[in-house]
């Protein structure tokens, strides 16, 4: 009995002092160490990916694409024709943008993007998707009641504006080209890009403001 208690106490002591990671963190460490040993991934690649998507790659990339489409009619045409090819001139192509499709908002049409299956998203131009995009609530309701969802995002869509909901897949992903706001004439690409919000490129934001 005594020895059992001593062992238990020693065990408890080890636990308290070990900073044992959470269960999912341990499972990830497990998977990564085995995947590296098997040559399925390189740890440098994983580290570089994590750094890039935590710090550098975000919706500013997509905003530049939108800004260029606003300023350059030829680029806009190329983007609408084959977005996956068009974004190559920025060097923004990635595994999630091979079959990228750009859909354009107009006075009478609003586009909105969802992935009803999981969370497919053009992350090499928009960065990691926001938490709500991955939620089962958004994935279900965006298709069922898009106007209601839009209203919750603060977008009150007039009845005469049609909503088109695009369901992303592993193969086809979307970026919404929002309408260029009035009052931004003569702005350069950088200044225009600064007013393009991430949500506008997913379609949960519609009216951009020419401020800044």
């Amino acid at each position: 009995m005594t020895s059992f208690d001593t062992e238990k106490a020693a065990d408890l002591h080890r636990h308290l002092h070990s900073h044992l990671p959470s269960d999912p963190a341990l499972r990830v460490k497990t998977l990564e160490s085995l995947a590296v040993e098997k040559g399925l991934v390189a740890s440098e690649t994983i580290d570089a990916w994590v750094e890039a998507y935590s710090e550098q790659i975000g919706p500013k990339r997509g905003a530049r694409v939108v800004a260029r489409a606003w300023r350059d009619p030829d680029f806009r045409a190329r983007l609408l024709d084959n977005a996956g090819d068009a974004i190559k001139e920025f060097g923004f192509e990635g595994s999630a943008t091979g079959h990228l499709v750009a859909v354009e908002n107009t006075d009478d049409t609003h586009n909105m993007v969802v992935c009803t299956l999981c969370s497919c998203y053009p992350f090499s131009i928009l960065g990691m998707s926001p938490a709500w995009y991955k939620s089962s609530e958004y994935r279900a309701r965006a298709v069922r009641e898009p106007r209601k969802v839009l209203a919750e995002f603060g977008v009150d869509l007039p009845e005469d504006v049609a909503v088109r909901v695009w369901d992303s897949t592993a193969e086809v992903r979307y970026i919404v080209i929002p309408q260029r706001p009035e009052g931004a004439d003569g702005w350069d690409e950088e200044r225009l890009a600064a007013i393009v919000t991430r949500n506008a490129m997913i379609g949960t934001d519609r009216i951009l403001k020419a401020e800044g």
């Binding site: 959470s22 999912p24 998977l31 160490s33 098997k38 935590s54 990691m128 991955k134 897949t169 592993a170």
Partner: protein, 114 residues
């Protein structure tokens, strides 16, 4: 439920915890490396998300990333010669390695091996 972004709010960090980023990094790298297809990843992740929902898990990012981890484990053991036993053995080794490593020292897998 959904709120417009507050432009004045501090920017959320992209990932709540490092392991979440590592899961997606591994999945994307394995898709690009041809270990499994993007479609297989989407379908497996979708199935894990539906399972979590059916089990009544909360609709949170934690649930999402745990589903992603489950999908990655399922695909890795399903498409490579890694087995579930490999995973459980290695996890036990890492657990022991952490428990046996004193404060401030790097955690080395060998410490967890008997």
């Amino acid at each position: 439920m959904f709120r417009p972004d507050d432009p004045l709010a501090p920017r959320d960090s992209v990932f709540d915890e490092a392991w979440q980023a590592q899961v997606l990094a591994m999945a994307d790298t394995m898709v690009r490396g041809g270990v499994f297809t993007a479609t297989a990843w989407a379908e497996t992740l979708g199935a894990e998300l539906r399972r979590a929902e059916a089990l009544g898990q909360p609709d949170t990012t934690q649930t999402y990333y745990e589903a992603a981890l489950g999908a990655l484990e399922a695909l890795t053991t399903g498409t490579t010669d890694l087995t579930e036993t490999d995973l459980s053995t290695r996890k036990a080794e890492w657990t022991r390695a952490y428990e046996r490593t004193p404060h401030g020292q790097p955690v080395i897998l060998d410490r967890g091996r008997d």
